[in-house]
């Protein structure tokens, strides 16, 4: 019944290719698509429709295909929703239909079709609102769907590429090739992209000659000439999926194995040669497998050598399909031409019977077309047996990219066409030709007449939507799903708009057309991720002690983009035990902590003190040389963005300490204010962070450990007080030592050249064998016991200084960034969230983020920000943001949803007087 036509097509009959579809083995040839090979193998039923599970076959032959979606299976991978018309046949290709089970031929979901009259358009909105949409969603999702995403991570190759060019030509048909060749010949850097695997567009099947040469041969030669030009690229299998600002165009290049390369191209000029798409005719039963667009039928026959049947009917309201009827007849197919127009101007092609003023009454057949009933102008109905019904409702230019680029659409006598093009954009070839005006659809007879095949939208649905008031195209689209399928309505949406115009008795321009949003064709999410998966997902910085941490058993985790040891595990030790052991070592002995990620930014110049006075909420200009001071930085709305310790190195020189996560951000922040607000001020900002490594020695025996390592610095508390720094040598290494503390114990941050950090650590560890490596988790517990602030954990984007107990800064009689905002009524409310300590009365740990309520009451009084099990006290410690919290010390609250009692307490559970910092 089916097969190939001898002497037709561009397939390589010497290279057979075996593949599987829906579990069955088939054979095609090199040069086939999955679609053409299936047609040649006699397969007509490829899919079930999205909502109604109706049997569906191929409607188109290119990227506009609405029905033939398949999942491609590969070992350990499943690539969903690929179009059979875009899948190049390859040996071993295995594809299955989407949305049918167990197979497209025997589909249990087809029962939906039987009740279809009860699920009209908008049904889901109307019927499933009680008790809630969520109750029904899983069932509907299972019944109406597309392909399945594989369970395993995608194994196909996904990657990104940036490119720049003088001219980007989208579309490798005759017009695009001509434009690209001309630009390349003029020496321009050209990128030509073509969605097909062959250049030539319609030349591959329309039989036209170019420059006296056979069209497909001309295209191949012209393409090779462009590709050979210096700086030119020809990208096949590449869909331009969107045009964005400033000449940016996204290209999606399909890679072998169904992966994808996403290109971001910046083009000086954009040439749109995207061709045009044939529209379907809307008549009852127009979705039966065997009914397809006339030009698609021609392509399957002329390009792929597929014999589509013994008998064909071509239904058209347009002259172009006459050529298709002629080509079918010339290939030996008995062809009848049914022209919907009463008095067509063209003569019938030789050997083709013609019916004028015809109407399609219905189509016949179960899972494939067996015939069609036509009514002639005199009202007589004839049933004609055929295996192919080729339809043409005229043509519409493909202007998705043109409109995205800012191009305007106009209507001339009801026909859509491109109007004014923005600068640097040109539309050429058949994309520039006005559409053939859509004619009113066939009189609606019995049976469903489909407008949008993929979204299962019928003419009756559009009529119903219009009756219900959805008369704007954008509303119609959302209510009916017209044009919302993975094909983006390339085939059917325009016919639907024309139908709406007819139903509402409005002109085409009054109805308009929705703007086609990117992507023009679907792009898998994996392509957006590209290679950024697994280890490559996000940058994770390493400290200069990375190798040392590994040898010490450090459990490395991501803290603000830095790989840092959570703790150092001894053999057989649980993580919680390690954290406790490390924290107690700092309280009772001495710990070594890698503080290298701390931000270090030098600020120098005659105006450095003035500048930092503006950038910190706390006073900085008064800081004495040799001393250190803790400070908060605020943004313009007065919210805390970072905290840290600043040193005054000299009259005109400071070292700003930023948090680890804020190191880069704060350097940019300072430079932005310097450059944009106060360019006349004499101050320079120089980030040094990763050039300097830091080992923090903390605990009551910290001083002894440093002395043992050998230092030319006097560590006596009177000589070297808390919040001061000294330059000197530690273990023979040039160092700057800062006495500042995050742990609550006497601490020394020893700063050295990053390359010598490991040497420093090893020297201290060797000189002080009792020194214990301390990870980030113990470090954070120690600060929690002490009630110190952790910006970004205890604070959010609204937290102001007063909320964390530094409210005096708002009363300072100087200007600084964010100050004005601190005086707004919002910032002066007494019931703002304030940071307080929290005690769990039952001694059980508290969950971070847990909300607090009044006992027996409702409504949040605040929430837990930091929590942990105190190694020092053997009980939970926590901090919370509580409404007006500082005035509520001692008050008992309850955990929301649990009822457990907690008491508001001072922040510092440990050494609230700070005696241990100075000892």
């Amino acid at each position: 019944m089916s097969g190939r036509l001898e002497g037709f097509g561009r397939i390589d009959r010497g290279r057979p290719i075996g593949f599987r579809f829906a579990g069955h083995p088939y054979q095609g040839f090199a040069g086939d698509t999955l679609a053409s090979a299936l047609l040649a193998s006699g397969v007509r039923l490829l899919a079930r429709s999205f909502k109604l599970h109706r049997p569906r076959g191929l409607v188109a032959a290119g990227p506009e295909e609405p029905n033939a979606l398949v999942d491609v299976l590969a070992p350990g991978d499943r690539r969903p929703n690929l179009k059979a018309t875009e899948l190049e046949l390859r040996e071993g290709l295995e594809a299955v239909s989407v949305n049918c089970w167990p197979s497209p031929g025997f589909d249990l979901g087809a029962a939906n079709g039987l009740i279809s009259r009860f699920i009209p358009v908008g049904f889901y909105y109307k019927a499933f609102f009680w008790p809630s949409w969520r109750f029904y969603e899983p069932f509907i999702r299972r019944a109406a769907g597309l392909g399945r995403v594989g369970d395993a991570p995608a194994r196909a190759r996904f990657e990104h590429r940036f490119a720049h060019c003088d001219v980007l030509v989208v579309g490798g048909g005759q017009a695009g090739l001509t434009a690209a060749a001309e630009a390349a010949g003029a020496g321009a850097r050209v990128i030509l992209c073509e969605q097909d695997f062959e250049l030539g567009g319609a030349l591959l099947w329309n039989g036209r000659a170019v420059d006296g040469r056979e069209g497909a041969g001309w295209a191949a030669e012209e393409g090779a000439r462009v590709a050979a030009s210096a700086g030119a690229r020809v990208l096949r299998r590449t869909t331009a999926s969107g045009v964005y600002d400033h000449g940016a165009v996204a290209l999606a290049e399909r890679l072998p194995g169904d992966g994808m390369r996403l290109w971001q191209v910046r083009a000086e000029r954009l040439v749109i040669a995207t061709g045009r798409t044939e529209r379907p005719l809307v008549f009852p039963g127009n979705d039966r497998p065997g009914v397809m667009l006339a030009d698609a039928a021609l392509q399957y026959q002329a390009r792929f050598g597929v014999k589509l049947g013994e008998r064909a009917v071509v239904v058209t309201d347009d002259d172009a399909a006459y050529g298709v009827a002629q080509a079918l007849a010339a290939a030996g197919v008995r062809t009848l031409l049914a022209d919907l127009r009463a008095n067509p101007a063209l003569a019938a092609p030789p050997g083709v019977e013609r019916l004028e003023g015809a109407t399609v009454v219905r189509t016949h057949g179960a899972r494939r077309l067996s015939g069609v009933s036509l009514r002639d102008a005199a009202g007589r109905v004839r049933r004609i047996a055929c295996e192919l019904l080729a339809m043409s409702g005229g043509w519409t230019p493909n202007l998705q990219l043109f409109t995205q680029a800012g191009g305007a659409i106009a209507f001339q006598a009801g026909a859509l066409e491109p109007a004014a093009a923005p600068a640097g954009v040109a539309v050429v070839g058949s994309a520039a030709i006005p559409e053939t005006p859509p004619t009113p659809p066939n009189a609606l007879g019995r049976g469903k007449a489909f407008v949008d095949f993929q979204a299962d939208v019928t003419a009756a649905d559009i009529e119903l939507a219009a009756q219900e008031g959805f008369v704007q195209v954008e509303h119609l689209k959302r209510y009916t799903a017209l044009g919302m399928g993975t094909d983006q309505g390339k085939v059917g949406a325009r016919a639907g708009q024309a139908l709406l115009a007819q139903i509402t008795a409005r002109s085409a321009p009054a109805v308009g057309a929705p703007r086609a949003r990117p992507p023009v064709s679907p792009i898998p999410l994996a392509a957006f991720a590209g290679r950024a998966r697994g280890e490559l997902f996000a940058p994770r910085r390493r400290t200069p002690l990375h190798a040392l941490h590994q040898t010490l058993g450090g459990a490395l985790e991501d803290y603000g983009g830095w790989l840092r040891p959570a703790c150092y595990l001894r053999s057989g030790e649980a993580e919680a035990d390690a954290v406790r052991r490390e924290a107690l070592a700092v309280r009772q002995g001495v710990g070594l902590f890698d503080a290298s990620p701390l931000g270090k930014i030098e600020v120098v110049g005659p105006d450095a003190a003035w500048f930092l006075g503006r950038m910190y909420a706390n006073p900085m200009a008064s800081l004495a040389i040799g001393r250190a001071r803790y400070g908060l930085m605020l943004d313009e709305i007065g919210a805390i963005i970072d905290d840290g310790v600043a040193l005054r190195l000299a009259e005109d020189r400071f070292l700003v300490g930023a948090s680890s996560a804020g190191a880069e951000r704060i350097a940019l922040w300072l430079d932005e204010w310097r450059q944009c607000e106060w360019p006349e001020r004499q101050v320079l900002v120089a980030p040094l962070t990763t050039a300097v490594g830091v080992v923090t020695v903390s605990g009551p025996r910290a001083r002894a450990a440093l002395k043992a390592a050998g230092a030319d610095i006097d560590f006596a508390p009177e000589a070297f007080p808390h919040m001061a720094f000294r330059d000197g040598r530690v273990a023979g290494i040039e160092a700057r030592v800062v006495s500042a503390s995050f742990s609550g114990e006497r601490s020394y941050e020893v700063n050295v050249a990053a390359g010598r950090t490991e040497e420093l650590w090893r020297a201290i560890a060797a000189a002080a064998p009792d020194a214990v490596p301390v990870g980030v988790e113990a470090w954070l517990l120690l600060r929690l016991e002490k009630g110190y602030l952790h910006v970004g954990v205890d604070t959010d984007g609204t937290t102001a200084p007063d909320d964390v107990g530094v409210g005096y800064v708002a009363r300072r009689n100087v200007a600084f960034v964010g100050k004005r905002s601190l005086l707004r009524p919002e910032n002066l409310r007494p019931d703002r969230h304030q940071l307080v300590g929290l005690e769990a009365l039952d001694g059980q740990p508290l969950a971070p983020g847990a909300h607090l309520v009044r006992p027996g009451g409702q409504g949040s009084e605040g929430y837990v920000t930091s929590t942990g099990l105190s190694p020092t006290f053997g009980r939970p410690v926590a901090m919370a943001m509580v409404k007006g919290g500082r005035a509520r010390l001692g008050e008992t609250l309850a955990l929301a949803g649990e009822g457990r009692a907690v008491r508001i307490a001072p922040r510092a559970a440990y050494d609230p007087e700070g005696a241990r910092l100075h000892g």
Partner: protein, 186 residues
Amino acid sequence: MAEQGASGVVMTPAIQVRPLPVASFAVLRLGAAQAGAVIAAASAALGAALPTTPNRAAGEAPRALWTGPLEWTLVGSPPERLSALEAALAGSIAHLADLTDGRVGFRIAGPAAAELIESECPLDLHALAPGDCAQSLFAGVGVLIERREGEDGFRLYADASLAAHLEAWLAAVAEGLVGRGSGDSG
């Protein structure tokens, strides 16, 4: 398949990525006051004219790269040159940051060198002439890219804390690149 040899991060016929030992990496920043005179004095001390055209580089040891208004990155300065520079800057509004321990460098050569970088960097490397430099992103992190006169490919500098990240990305992207900068996608 990219081979990771002992001598380089990537060694394929199309791409060779080698770590570039950086003996000295410093950033010089000057205040706007009397900048012209300070630039002249600094250039004399360094023995290399600080380029005043944006994104241009000059000199050999040190190589001075314009990386911002009144900001230069000095690569490979002999210690005595840096001392001379410090002396020449005395009394001026200036800052010299020694970032040697905080930066890494890579040499990226081979016919697919530009493609390798363009895979993850939005710069137009075609527009980067010999003697040019530019700052951009590669694989999401800040990089300084330099194209030297008479040298195949590019030099790429980045923060030392990101060395492993960059090496992993360079190796992953290089896999499969065969050096077809133009032509037909096949």
